[in-house]
Amino acid sequence: MEAPASEEAGKMDPAQAARQRWMSVLAKAQLSELESAWKEMPQKPDFDWLRAPETGMVMLRARTGGTGSQFNIGQMTVTRCALRLANGSAGLGYVQGRSKRHAELAALFDALLQDGTQAADLEVKVITPLQAQQISRRKEASKKANSTKVNFFTLVRGEND
């Protein structure tokens, strides 16, 4: 999408890296998971929209083999929004697909996670379990794919003499 992560990683400050990680986890989470996490929040903060949720297209860029020249691989549907909580902290949500509610919840959690007093608590209660679920889903998918893997090999043929 933007600059390749590997180039950025060296000069990124830890706060930014942490935020990038939780935004990624929130974006990849399923809406039902986010809804139930939100339901368990003791108090739900008031917020104002800076940018109401909107759906659009983002051009994805890729490189052949990861090193070749860049080309446009295709467009992805993205929903994004920006909001500000009553305490002044602002959150952004960028999610795949057309779910405005997903973008809203991602932005709300992003804003709350930037607030120092709640961050550690939320990290443990929301982000870590979500990430664990995502990893296990991914492992499950890899396992399924792996079981259909076919190894091709050639039998050694005897010499003719």
């Binding site: 935020r19 940018r51 983002v58 549907t77 993205v78």
Partner: protein, 214 residues
């Protein structure tokens, strides 16, 4: 579906990014509000000198008025470089337009498609903005000039397409050289800049075809 202006990378992140914590919200309903505002801007250009009014709420960032903000939010996008005059050129305002319009901000007035002038007394001469070229007269700048009033200033008589006989504009706060420069601007038709004058919720269009009476 609209093409999102800042792909993927959340615009508010990073040292060069925008500090969205201090940002004011833009148009409440971007699609329909900007369509309504565009209609008003078209009418203002079609009827030069007629004072048009913006309805609807908008929390304009300092030092801008509602009309100025509404016009720029509607007109600017990622294909239109915006130039902001020195007094309004503050990080919050740059962030505001980058975030809501996704427009590139330029330092040189000649490179801008739109120019925001909040301090008309000290604005650059009209010749310092893009005038268009003979093959493409549309590659000229449109200026949004914010004034203190559009009804209490010295009277200027306007003629030209879109005006029956003549009309009187009473814009306050324009620099002394403005109407003289305007004659030169109108004289090089089809080249030249177009101007919107704004004050509070009011806006007046001055297309390059307008002729000023001496």
């Amino acid at each position: 579906m609209a093409m999102l202006s800042s792909p993927g990378g959340p615009a508010g992140i990073g040292p060069a990014g925008i500090d969205i914590a201090d940002l004011k919200p833009g148009l409440g309903d971007p699609v329909h509000d900007s369509q309504g505002i565009f209609r008003i801007l078209l009418e203002a250009m079609a009827r030069p000198g007629k004072v048009m009014q913006f309805e609807g709420g908008l929390d304009a960032p300092t030092p801008l008025d509602v009309a100025t903000t509404a016009a720029l939010l509607t007109l600017c996008d990622q294909d239109t470089p915006l130039w902001i005059d020195w007094i309004a050129d503050t990080p919050p305002l740059r962030g505001y337009f980058s975030f809501h319009c996704g427009c590139p901000l330029v330092e040189r007035s000649q490179e801008a498609a739109f120019a925001l002038v909040s301090d008309a007394e000290n604005m650059p001469r009209l010749a310092l903005f893009a005038q268009g070229v003979d093959q493409y007269p549309d590659r000229s700048a449109s200026l949004v000039i914010q004034l203190s009033s559009l009804v209490e200033g010295p009277a200027t008589v306007l003629r030209g397409p879109g005006i029956r006989d003549q009309t009187v504009l009473k814009a306050a706060g324009l620099p002394d050289w403005f109407w003289n420069d305007w004659r030169l601007n109108a004289g090089q038709f089809p080249l030249g800049v177009d101007v919107f004058l704004t004050a509070g919720r009011s806006i007046v269009g001055l297309p390059r075809t307008v002729v000023v009476e001496a």
